[in-house]
């Protein structure tokens, strides 16, 4: 009889086997089972968003309640989140979509979300420049090789490289297509074989760490 951890292990085995079989035999009944499983997957994916919201808001409420350091930012987050959700719901009811041209939700998106996301990503350029200046040192042979390659690729990937020499972009392309790719392929194959091994171990119930 199945009991305790045996139940989730059996369910994992059953679902895993059905998905493998339906991949190779996409006909009835396996094709239908796969379709139902995929619908469930979509529904679960939708609900994971709720879990994320619960975790985010819960954490910031606790920070606010305890008046932890930087509690003010938690307040801004909670107010911002509430306002966005409320406006989103109202505007969806009004226009059929939250992203209508006249919707306030579009305003929030264009004038808050877009600049905030763009700013966060743009800051990377400054941090990378500063970090490269401080940390990118030719300390040994490997670091020197990496440094020279990085400089060639950085120049070869922008039009300035073409101005310096027409061979620079070609050499960059060779670096990308041959040594870079050889290393990536090796890593990729290793990761894929590892994932395959772990998947089989999970389906067969050998790997059980996901239960704890």
């Amino acid at each position: 009889m199945l009991k305790g951890k045996g139940i989730p292990i059996f369910i994992t085995f059953l679902v895993g086997m059905i998905m493998i079989i339906s991949f190779f035999i996409p006909h009835k009944p396996f094709g239908d089972i796969e379709k139902i499983s995929l619908n469930w997957y979509s529904i679960i994916a939708g609900f994971t968003m709720l879990l994320g919201v619960d975790s985010l808001i819960g954490m910031h409420f606790r920070k606010l309640k305890r008046k932890d350091e930087n509690w003010f930012f938690s307040l801004v987050l909670i107010l911002g989140f509430t306002a966005t959700v409320v406006v989103g719901i109202i505007e969806t009811v009004r226009f059929g979509t939250a992203f209508d041209d006249k919707s306030y939700f579009t305003y929030i998106y264009n004038y808050f979300i877009v600049p905030l996301q763009s700013t966060m990503f743009s800051l990377l350029a400054f941090f990378i420049a500063s970090a490269a200046y401080r940390a990118f040192r030719a300390r040994n042979f490997d670091a020197t090789l990496l440094l020279i390659t990085a400089i060639i690729v950085m120049l070869g990937r922008v039009p300035l490289g073409e101005q310096i020499s027409p061979y620079l972009p070609k050499f960059t392309e060779w670096i990308m297509q041959v040594p870079q790719m050889a290393a990536k392929r090796g890593i990729g194959l290793g990761i894929s074989l590892g994932a395959l091994g772990v998947s089989i171990r999970i389906i067969l119930g050998i790997e059980r760490s996901y239960l704890s």
């Binding site: 997957y41 990937r157 300035l160």
Partner: protein, 278 residues
């Protein structure tokens, strides 16, 4: 010597200032840089040029505002080519926050090219659970997209009447800021033999080179440079081409800082060795 030692301890705010200047000034003064088209980008363009008139092209918006400078110019250049060749874009979104960017680009270029919604192009919007969706589209797109992004039933649009699965889609173009493209290659490409072209952020473009070499994708547009090349190909230089000068100068400044940092490092190391030898 002292100059380099002092330079190695330079306040990082000066570095930030230099970077800001080399990014902003070229955008104001617009110096011209010739953009040479690379083979992976040319391959995407050529493949689309050979598609028969009326073919459907599925565009997946898998980026958000953080990647807008890299992806939005390519989206617009791609849509210009599609509408010019009388191809029909079907837009779907895998990153929720990319939905308005896709819509914005699509509506802007459709207006410019005189395309009609539901006849020449359609916007299906976002649905959660991208893996399920990618497999599901292989059977019937209506299982996941019964309605468009404004909740209008798909069957009410003339262009969608004969679109059911990947067999009715000539090319899938993924505009990617993350790793969603791996699932496209695995499921749409591997399982349903869907032809795929990718536009990736510069930072992740090297990861997709082996899919290009193995023929799993027809071509690859990498970062703002790739977008600039595409703008040149569709003969409409725009934001990406304008950004090339900023990108060129900022790369140059970063390289100069790295070189200066290394000179300072070796001088300092030499001085320490000398002191140690005494």
């Amino acid at each position: 010597m002292n100059f380099f030692i002092k330079l190695s301890k330079i306040d990082r705010r000066f570095i930030y200032l230099f970077i800001a200047l080399v990014v902003v000034l070229p955008l104001i003064f617009k110096p011209k840089f010739p953009v040479v088209v690379s083979k992976p980008v040319q391959d995407v363009y050529d493949y689309i040029e050979k598609l028969p008139e009326g073919s459907n092209v599925l565009i997946s918006i898998d980026y958000d505002a953080a990647s807008m400078p890299e992806q939005q110019p390519f989206l617009e250049a791609l849509l210009r080519q599609l509408f010019k060749n009388k191809l029909k874009p079907i837009l779907i979104v895998q990153w929720q926050l990319g939905a308005p960017l896709g819509t914005m680009g699509l509506e802007k270029i459709a207006k410019e090219m005189g395309a009609v919604y539901g006849v020449d192009y359609i916007n299906l919007g976002y649905r959660p659970g991208y893996v399920a969706q990618m497999v599901g589209i292989g059977k019937e797109i209506r299982d996941y997209f019964k309605v468009d992004y404004r909740n209008i039933p798909l069957d009410s649009f003339p262009m969608m009447k004969n679109v059911h699965n990947y067999n009715d889609i000539a090319l899938l173009v993924g505009l990617e800021a993350g790793s969603t493209y791996l699932a496209w290659i695995e499921y749409a490409g591997g399982r349903f033999k869907q032809k795929i072209a990718l536009a990736l952020n510069a930072v992740s473009a090297p990861d997709a080179y082996y899919f290009y070499q193995s023929g799993q994708i027809v071509g690859l547009v990498g970062g703002m440079k790739g977008a600039a090349e595409y703008e040149v190909l569709v003969d409409k230089p725009d934001l990406a081409v304008a950004g090339m000068a900023s990108q060129s100068y900022s790369h140059l400044v970063i390289i100069l800082f790295i070189v200066l940092g290394n000179i300072a490092y070796f001088i300092e190391k030499g001085m320490k060795n000398k002191e140690g030898g005494k």
